[in-house]
């Protein structure tokens, strides 16, 4: 009975028993998403169901691999008026309400992943059956983009599984496997394949001709009690503190989600839905959601689609990878590469050191086995792919070799030569240096066009970014290969040009340097740390410096000074350097590894700020506001990122923003280091930077590119 002349996003098929199967199958898309292309035909189908008494039941399923991914992010990102966002949420909820009140059984036959609006649609159905495929995900991840489930999710989920069980799912955006979702009470039934899925769905329809949603039942009782129950009242008192302890109050979505659930637990379902729409609208137009969607959705997707990869080169894969140096970095690279299925040769100067590097993988795998995420067989298979050696000849046949040896030009030059003597002429040689210019190092290579920088972050198995550094002679083909390798190990690549500290190390350094400058200015060390955390950084600048070690910073500074002298350039130091020199040299407190830095590190206890610190850096009578310190810390980084963009060290806004968030943990709610400036307002940023420069020194002078942009009203796009 399908009259449509062109393919519709919703396929309507009615069988002899009066059971209609609505198959969501948007033409020209690999995934179903909630946009007018889908909701339009869906509304028509709904009308038809409502007006045809011959229809005895409805099955909603998908013609794609997944069920329904969620909302139309583009549409939401473009919205600037809260009233429009409110209407959007109300309209979608209107559909869903009609599903559950249509008087016929409606079953969600979940053939794959249902996230966000997809799961909200499923929860509006009377019964949910899913194929038990461990790769399918169920959840409400809106919070990760600064939003909340605006399709009734904050009302149905807690009424389905209880307030306390529902909150973590929405506040953390957890995605569940089918078995977990069933255990939590979100799914009613699991089946093995699509045939069984549709058969069970039909059987349920026939067996339950007049189902009523729990919340529409007059005798409805909240599982675990509503918001007024004493246990929940107690939970509500501490829930904001628990959320803020991690978020530092920077994520309005957390508060709005809690408000939806809290108030929803006091009022009736339909009122709760309207409350939800109001809080949803508030988030849609919020700067934080614009920041997060812009960077963590659009820019990240663009990067992953290869925006910074040169065109015209076939996708390459690394089958055999060589790693020089089995230290912390080399060992981590070996693990992620073997995990991606590559054969890995892990080379060090002694067999013992090489084996130690390999044992790092064994340790990680043991942990994964304990958590049920790996099997013993998987472990041995992975370890078999890693060969620990001292012999350069074992590198024969490698597609790519990454050196992660000591940061010393002579050593690096030596291993480059030894490697190139055995590897194929087509192989790429990469350096994992974080500080030494690639172009200079490539001089040791016989094939400088096949020499590239792959800057990993520690710990490699956890950090999602790799900074690809293009030297003066690096070819586009080499860049494409490097890019493909980074994607092969499932990390996010950003591409930068060769420059001192590249992009991430250079901009990141301004954060720890500014922290030290604040200490020099007599600010309370704990207040400095708190300012960093309140600004959205994952760790305070002093603690972070302890982590990376002051001796490493000293080494970089000394090298830079030497290089400047050799080049005949004047070196302008950062005021924070004085603190670093005093700490590392005079006071012998080089950082966490040594057990002493800005903090003390007791063997069996939490670190605490070294009590002597304020004796060596006395507190000023003028303690700045937290806001002032936060701006110093953030302006330092954002301004440096802008300089990098201006100097074409980093070439795209996407790379700059994603590199800042994934590389050094720049406040995600700000959307990255350049988006910080957009959100602040470029002209306003320039004015404030000039104020800071007048007060604290010329390092705050706004990057020239910002002056141009402010003048012409441009933003980073």
């Amino acid at each position: 009975m399908n009259h449509q002349t062109q393919p519709s996003a919703v396929n309507f098929a009615q069988d002899a028993d009066g059971i209609v199967t609505l198959t969501l199958d948007m033409p020209g898309r690999s995934m179903n998403v909630l946009n007018p292309e889908l909701t339009g035909p869906f509304a028509e189908a709904l009308k038809r169901i409502e007006s045809d008494a011959g229809i005895k039941g409805v099955i909603i399923t998908s013609g794609k691999k997944e069920f329904l991914a969620g909302a139309d992010i583009e549409g939401i990102f473009a919205m600037k008026e809260p009233a429009a966002a409110y209407r959007l949420a109300e309209e979608y909820k209107g559909f869903l309400r009609r599903i559950e009140l249509c008087g016929r059984p409606v079953v969600a036959a979940l053939n794959g992943t249902a996230l966000g609006g997809g799961l909200e649609m499923a929860m509006a159905c009377h019964y949910r059956i899913a194929i038990d495929n461990p790769k399918a995900k169920f959840g409400l991840p809106e919070v990760k983009l600064g939003l909340l489930p605006g399709g009734g999710g904050t009302q149905r989920l807690p009424r389905l599984i209880g307030i306390q069980a529902s909150l973590p799912l929405m506040l953390e955006g957890k995605e569940l496997r089918p078995d977990q979702a069933k255990q939590q009470g979100i799914l009613n039934e699991l089946v093995k394949d699509r045939d069984e899925l549709l058969a069970r769905a039909k059987a349920w329809c026939l067996a339950n001709p007049k189902p009523v949603q729990p919340w529409d039942d007059k005798k409805f009782k909240w599982p675990g009690g509503d918001s007024k129950s004493p246990a929940n009242a107690q939970m509500w008192a501490i829930a904001p503190s628990m959320a803020d302890a991690k978020s530092y109050g920077n994520y309005p979505a957390l508060t709005n989600i809690m408000s939806c659930v809290f108030e929803g637990g006091i009022v009736d379902f339909d009122t709760g839905c309207r409350v939800e729409s109001r809080y949803f609208a508030d988030l849609v137009v919020s700067q934080v959601s614009k920041n997060m969607i812009g960077s963590l959705w659009f820019q990240l997707n663009a990067i992953n689609k290869g925006k910074s990869r040169p065109e015209g080169f076939d996708k390459s894969t690394v089958k055999k990878l060589g790693i020089l140096g089995a230290g912390m970095m080399g060992a981590g690279i070996a693990y992620v590469s073997a995990k991606a299925g590559m054969d890995v040769v892990l080379l060090d100067t002694s067999q013992e050191a090489a084996e130690k590097g390999k044992s790092y993988s064994a340790g990680l795998l043991d942990k994964a086995i304990k958590k049920g995420r790996e099997t013993a067989a998987g472990k041995s298979a992975l370890l078999e792919r890693i060969r620990a050696t001292t012999e350069f000849k074992d590198l024969e046949g490698c597609d790519l070799v990454i050196e992660a040896v000591f940061e010393d030009r002579a050593i690096k030059a030596d291993v480059t030569k030894k490697t190139e003597a055995v590897i194929p002429s087509t192989a790429v040689f990469a350096s994992n240096t974080s500080t030494l210019p690639i172009t200079g190092m490539a001089q040791a290579s016989v094939r400088p066009d096949q020499f590239i920088g792959l800057h990993f972050f520690s710990p490699v198995d956890k950090m999602p970014l790799v900074e690809i550094i293009v030297g003066a002679k690096t070819s586009k083909a080499t860049l494409a290969k490097g890019f493909d390798y980074v994607q092969q190990i499932k990390k996010t690549p950003i591409v930068v040009n060769d420059s001192r500290g590249f992009y991430t190390s250079r901009a990141f350094a301004t954060y720890i340097m500014e922290g030290m400058a604040l200490l020099l200015d007599g600010q309370h060390p704990r207040s400095i740390e708190m300012a960093g955390l309140q600004a959205g950084m994952p760790v305070g600048p002093l603690a972070l410096h302890d982590e990376v070690s002051l001796s490493l910073s000293m080494h970089v500074m000394e090298q830079t000074r030497k290089d400047f002298a050799a080049e005949g350039r004047a070196y302008v130091g950062h005021p924070g350097e004085a603190v670093m020199v005093k700490m590392a040299k005079e006071l012998d407190r080089p950082g966490k590894k040594a057990g002493k830095g800005f903090y003390e590190y007791p063997a069996n206890g939490q670190k605490s700020i070294w009590p002597e610190l304020t004796r060596h850096f006395p507190l000023s009578k003028q303690q700045m506001s937290q806001q002032e310190m936060m701006e110093r810390l953030m302006f330092a980084q954002a301004n440096e990122a802008a300089r990098c963009y201006e100097e074409k060290v980093v070439m795209t806004v996407a790379d700059a923003n994603i590199g800042s968030i994934f590389g050094w943990g720049f406040a995600p709610h700000q959307g990255g280091a350049l988006q910080y400036i957009n959100a602040y307002g470029v002209a306003r940023f320039v004015k404030r930077a000039e104020e800071l420069a007048a007060k604290y020194g010329p390092r705050f002078k706004p990057a020239a590119v910002l002056l141009d942009m402010a003048g012409s009203g441009k933003t980073f796009a």
Partner: protein, 401 residues
């Protein structure tokens, strides 16, 4: 401006605020009824002459709800023309009643007002009335809600009060309260609570533990450490950025006791007193309330005291006795430090750590205690002050007549 005088102050004994407390079997309205009868009898009061009854009650739910002031007036058989209002300024409610009554009289609009409060903490648990401050996540987040104990421990941390300091103060409170009770210093105000048969249920403050020692207290676990670690400490530390962690020193033994009780005072103008044959015992010199930072919550005493002193044209040296509510030991120690006063003039008959703190009633109770002590020790001026939830402070200065 008309002057406001205190003619009388009565209170019930304070009963342990648990199932095994003596007053758990007594309704809150009966606690008040007992005091209304006593006030009437002691002062041969023609109740038709009372313009209003102002009562504090912090958890006005259940049998304490629905304006217990008016209910109690009628229950006690006072004249129908006597109205009643119930208010809450959290822990200061009892003193707030006194201050409102005083201001009613001072304004000349009313001439004779009963002020006091009631709290049956054993029957209606603290916090059971909810409130957006704690339970609405949006408000909670915006205000930086943390329970009072976190604020008390934060004060101790910021001021450097050790566990020994606060435990030492608690022992002092116990010793002074026991001594005062045994010497009969509370006898003037305490009205025994009797049942409907006239049988005595409780005639003395039963919460006091005279044998308390610092050693004994040292075995008690800090009460707020666990909830602090769950997230409340982090909320406090975001506002108090110079400390890395909170030293949790408070526990049941150095915090105010949870008890049941009620209090009433009779306040009026000199003329009204003369007309009714009432003898003025004290004059209310000034009253004050302030708001303070809500997360630490308990630092309002000194600013409220300063405000009241300024209004009265006095300074701390002019005050003979201080009654500072012992919500937590650190609160009093901090107030003493902030006001730069001698601890010997503070809570000379002990305080809420030993005697208990029936939230809505305490303020009027300790005003009565101060007045009794001024008379007993032949002194002239007293300042009564309490810290208040959500960051407030209250103070009242009285002068013996």
């Amino acid at each position: 401006m008309t002057e406001a005088f205190v003619f009388d102050a009565v209170r019930t004994p304070r009963g342990k605020g648990k199932k095994d407390g003596s007053l758990h079997e007594v309704t809150p309205v009966h606690l008040l009824g007992t005091l209304f009868h006593a006030l009437q009898e002691r002062n041969h009061l023609d109740t038709t002459q009372v313009d209003d009854v102002v009562l504090g009650c912090v958890t006005p739910v259940g049998e304490q709800g629905a304006d217990i002031a008016r209910t109690a007036v009628l229950y006690a058989g006072w004249a129908e023309n006597v109205p009643g209002v119930t208010q809450s300024r959290f822990c200061a409610s009892g003193l707030e009643s006194v201050n409102l009554a005083a201001m009613k009289v001072m304004s000349g609009q009313e001439d004779l007002v009963v002020a006091g409060g009631v709290e049956s903490m054993s029957r209606w648990a603290m916090g059971s009335d909810g409130g957006a401050w704690a339970m609405d996540p949006r408000v909670n987040h915006q205000l930086g809600f943390a329970p009072q104990g976190i604020g008390a421990d934060l004060i101790a941390t910021l001021e450097g009060f050790s566990r020994d300091d606060v435990d030492g103060f608690a022992v002092r409170s116990q010793q002074r309260a026991a001594k005062a009770r045994d010497a009969g210093h509370f006898r003037k105000s305490v009205v025994p609570v009797k049942d409907l048969n006239g049988m005595t249920v409780l005639d003395h403050d039963e919460y006091i533990r005279p044998d308390t020692t610092v050693d004994g207290l040292s075995t008690l676990k800090p009460s707020f450490e666990q909830m602090g670690q769950m997230g409340f400490d982090a909320t406090a530390l975001r506002k108090y950025t110079t400390i890395e962690k909170i030293n949790h020193v408070h526990h049941a033994g150095n915090s105010s006791g949870i008890v049941d009780g009620a209090s009433l005072t009779l306040i009026g103008s000199r003329d009204k007193g003369k007309a009714l044959g009432l003898k003025p015992r004290g004059r209310i010199r000034s009253v004050a309330v302030v708001g303070s930072e809500p997360t630490i919550m308990l630092t309002g005493i000194a600013p409220a005291a300063q405000k009241a002193l300024k209004k009265a044209g006095m300074n701390v040296k002019d005050i003979d006795l201080f009654e500072i509510n012992e919500a937590f030991a650190a609160v009093v120690l901090k107030a003493v430090r902030a006001l730069d006063i001698d601890l010997d003039r503070v809570n000379v008959n002990g305080g809420a750590i030993a005697l208990g703190h029936p939230l809505g009633a305490t303020g009027a109770m300790i005003l009565g205690t101060a007045l009794d002590e001024l008379e007993r020790s032949n002194k002239s001026t007293a300042l009564i002050s309490l810290c208040v939830g959500a960051g407030m402070g209250i103070a009242t200065i009285i002068e013996r007549v």
